[in-house]
Subunit: 330 residues, 4 copies
């Protein structure tokens, strides 16, 4: 299942060290102004090598639109986006060819497929999100037409809340050959009421699935999330006022449908599993071995996950906006 | 979207005070022994009126299999399950006909559809889960054939962890006309490695969507979840041993695919929004009014949500088990 | 796959001799006036026993709306429709319990599922179309709001074109213990241009799939169909005039998208396979045996297939109408 | 909807004169040997310029696998296939920029999208089938593992049945600036019994949708198709013998499920709408104008449609083979 969405459908492809990565977007409305310059800035935010906090792998991640755009406008045909891998062949991953990295998808891919593209994680690599971010950029253009914007921020790194602490924390942990996790918060602003479906297609269900579908995410909250579980109903209910609500504990979603308030999502990001510290693991022959993962890995993935999570929220909301169009009076 | 699943597809229907509730299950393997007695016990666990902790509404929730079973075995045809509503007409919901209950789906349904079946919450009522639990019972029969079992438990009510505390807590809050939330944990035991897809169809993504699609759930964690965000990679990685793993921080899922360890899911359940305490709200004409919700509401939904969450996990896993069958050598 | 459609989704259930048949409709717009009286007349047209040309089985096929309608209007919740089987238990099908009727689904169901509800064909019976016709009635109400109407007619029975001939033909063949096929034509009038998708989701592709999905249909044509294969392009192209087209060889669809002309579909219906004439066949133990199929079978299914084919065309068009709504400026 | 299939999912992209065409295949089993040399021969069969009967446009249609294959084997990750357009920019389509070609998708695309890539038909061009044929080549490799093969042949051109006649016919019609249609027959050999679903997902329904989804196809028949409509049941039923059937009027499908006999499909192909002969049409401003379509068009598309129809049948059957795997005992 490499396709996301029902109306605005995104199919991604590509591996960390394959020839190219990309996405095909199907269901994009026609007559939307679109060029590579709408997409590139978001890819640049996601790109490695941009700060001392991230992996030193250097990729330009330069996007090309292969189809679906004619004279600067979308035609309704599928939009294929392509990003070539440049550093793909330069690295030696031979040492992990037969060894499962702890906490990584190596073992489960091998159990599922009986084969594994071990080079840089193959399809399980964070590079797979290139296609998501590119598609998300188009989604955001559509959302903007409906007045909706999306923003994300780091909330916590390794339990620390302040911005100053977490930079120091990440550099220290990098030095130590270890990694750390954190929490990010993504918000959709000015979302109209009425998006999302009751029951299985609840807006929060779609968002939770979208977020948990990002590698390294281990928890998702909407609004107050787990804190709500510790409250009285009289504290947690958002009472209504003349022109809205007196609070937003619900995070903008009631009964699976947007209420018109900000949609607030938080995600728990685990520490990157690829660390230099020596760990015990197994190889494909069943031998218990020790491993110290080399390579250019991020000591903390939280900063780079934000554009990805924003893109996923954009994809969900675009899908819902198109869905709700079906039922409007024309 | 009242259909869940790709291979084992469940479509639910019915409202709190309509004629009947039910589900149609499509994609169930043929030749599975099945009768109402496989389903009824799970419905009985979900049923209201069974304990002083739950709503006093009394429904037998007696299930009938309408189709898809012949001489005690499934035929491969869709299985329609029906539960009649019995107390449907007996209650007076007139007072909330035009008023939105705070924290409830009333407002958003009205914004989405321009019409609202206000009787007992209509489709947004917890009674909708009757169809899910009934379908889940069939899913569990299939999982059992693959050796997989599912269990759930209350972890926390209103911040209290011990079993003794939370009964007292719930009765006290009921007395006060208020409600409380809590946390439940659902575990799948003896799940084979290899279930779930990479990227958007990750097993944890499917589970997160399934859980967040249950009314009142505001957060989902897999394995250590939000706690993992506070750890070092060297602490959080589950190192491998000769015959498994030395820990299960990951909750049985790596890279979106099951690892063969227990799959551990936690959900945050908000306090029931329908409370007797006076709250401020709005009516459909835009007037700010006060409301004290009458009716037979659960002061804490956590105990009754457990069979629902177990059912949803069973639906996800059954879908993945069937999916993985496609790619096995025959 | 007992679900049809992407936006207006119909899931049918039930067997010839099970407890009940029905359908769940998901995605129906809210606020549509709806009651059983909108649906019953179409079921009555499909019903057996209405004329000497059809099976003498007598069913009232009385429909009940179980959910999704409140105070006479749809709510946006799934609409469950139920029709009880009345004559279900009265017939003896023991003689075909272990024998495959030639030309029937008996053999292939048994090969696929390893089990078979032999009573009256089970799920493969024409009674399965009860759910389709009921759902189609709702679709037609939606289409009517968009000005679209659907009509069907018998074009040919056993090669004869005139109305008078085919009644005589059917009664004669019934007498002889045999059956005959024929051709039906279904037309959608006043369909707007722009329905349908390019490539795989072409309107004619959706229609062809819908029609071929009706039991006994062995061929589908759009517009001139097979006759177009014998023409020059200069004959077959519909030239354009100031306010339309000079002809409608294309049957209202160009490049998979409706052109605004009448949509014209023809279906080839095979002779009913269940005949009294002695035929050679096999039983489930592999023995070659002779069979003379007893029971109340239609000597020619063409008249009764028309409301079913109309319903299927209505389902396809309603789905496309909703789909196209997504992309309209609001 | 540029995606086909449920289990073996093919998403195509690209326009006649865009940068590139291609397909992403999702759901391909892992460990299948695959390289460009498996795909290229089928693209070569479809390619223009190969015979005097086809368009003189010269494209190498050289395919590159961008992802999903590692060390010569599929990994379970999506397989992206790319074919660059080479002659894309060389032609002048200015004359049809504002004019709708009769019988072509020009008018309906413009009505649907409000924008049209007029260059060579854009997305509605036959070049779109490059992605289908490439994907079909992979499907055929999978089918071969199950012993299934597919073949196609021209049955009729402009009403003529013999091979000798139709070559002469096509060259004559080309000379006259006109075009002709015809009939093709596609057969799947050695298909196991049990493929396909009852009701909406009937194997013949899937095939009919797949075939009618090919541009220029206006009719589809299974087995004897329209001829069956003129028969008695006693003639049309395929009686069973000790080890099979005494005939194959049904074309290998009973009740929507394969019977183990050859699956026989016939398609009616209309004459190419783009002809040099002067026709009356309209432009986008509403003026009635005359048009003589220039460009390198096929005078008869039947020969080149055969690899496309074979590919579509391969896609349908592969999807069904994978689907049926879900329900097999492991």
């Amino acid at each position: 299942m490499n396709t996301f969405g029902k109306n605005f459908r995104v199919t991604t492809f590509g591996e960390s060290h394959g020839k190219a990565l990309g996405a095909v977007i199907d269901g994009c409305p026609a007559c939307l102004g679109l060029s590579e310059t709408d997409i590139q800035p978001l890819l640049d935010r996601r790109r490695p090598g941009a700060s001392p906090l991230s992996s030193p792998r250097r990729e330009r991640d330069s996007v090309t639109i292969l189809s679906g755009v004619f004279e600067g406008k979308t035609t309704g045909a599928p939009i294929a986006l392509l990003v070539q891998n440049e550093e793909a062949q330069s690295e030696d991953y031979g040492e992990i060819r037969d060894t499962f990295r702890p906490g990584h998808a190596d073992f489960t891919y091998f159990m599922k497929y009986g084969i594994r593209d071990h080079r840089g994680g193959g399809r399980s690599s964070g590079r797979e999100t290139v296609g998501r971010v590119a598609a998300g950029a188009i989604a955001m253009k559509i959302l903007k037409q409906h007045g909706i914007t999306i923003s994300g921020r780091i909330l916590e790194v390794h339990g620390k809340r302040s911005d100053k602490d977490f930079e120091k924390e990440i550099l220290a942990v990098k030095e130590a050959g270890d990694s750390v996790g954190g929490i990010a918060e993504i918000t959709a602003h000015d979302c109209p009421a009425g998006l999302g479906d009751p029951v299985f297609g609840k807006l929060d269900a779609l968002i939770a699935g979208a977020m948990m579908g990002i590698g390294a995410v281990k928890g998702v909250e909407i609004g107050d999330g787990f804190a709500a579980a510790k409250r009285y109903g009289s504290e947690n209910n958002d009472q209504m006022t003349e022109d809205g609500f007196s609070s937003n504990h619900a995070g903008g979603i009631l009964g699976g449908i947007s209420s018109g308030q900000d949609i607030v999502v938080r995600i728990a990001v685990k520490p990157t599993p690829s660390i230099a510290k020596v760990q015990q693991t197994r190889d494909i022959h069943g031998n218990v071995v020790e491993i110290s993962v080399k390579g250019r890995h991020d000591p903390c993935i939280v900063p780079r996950i934000i554009p990805v999570a924003e893109a996923m929220l954009a994809l969900v909301l675009t899908d819902c906006v198109l869905e709700s169009g079906k039922y409007q009076k024309h």
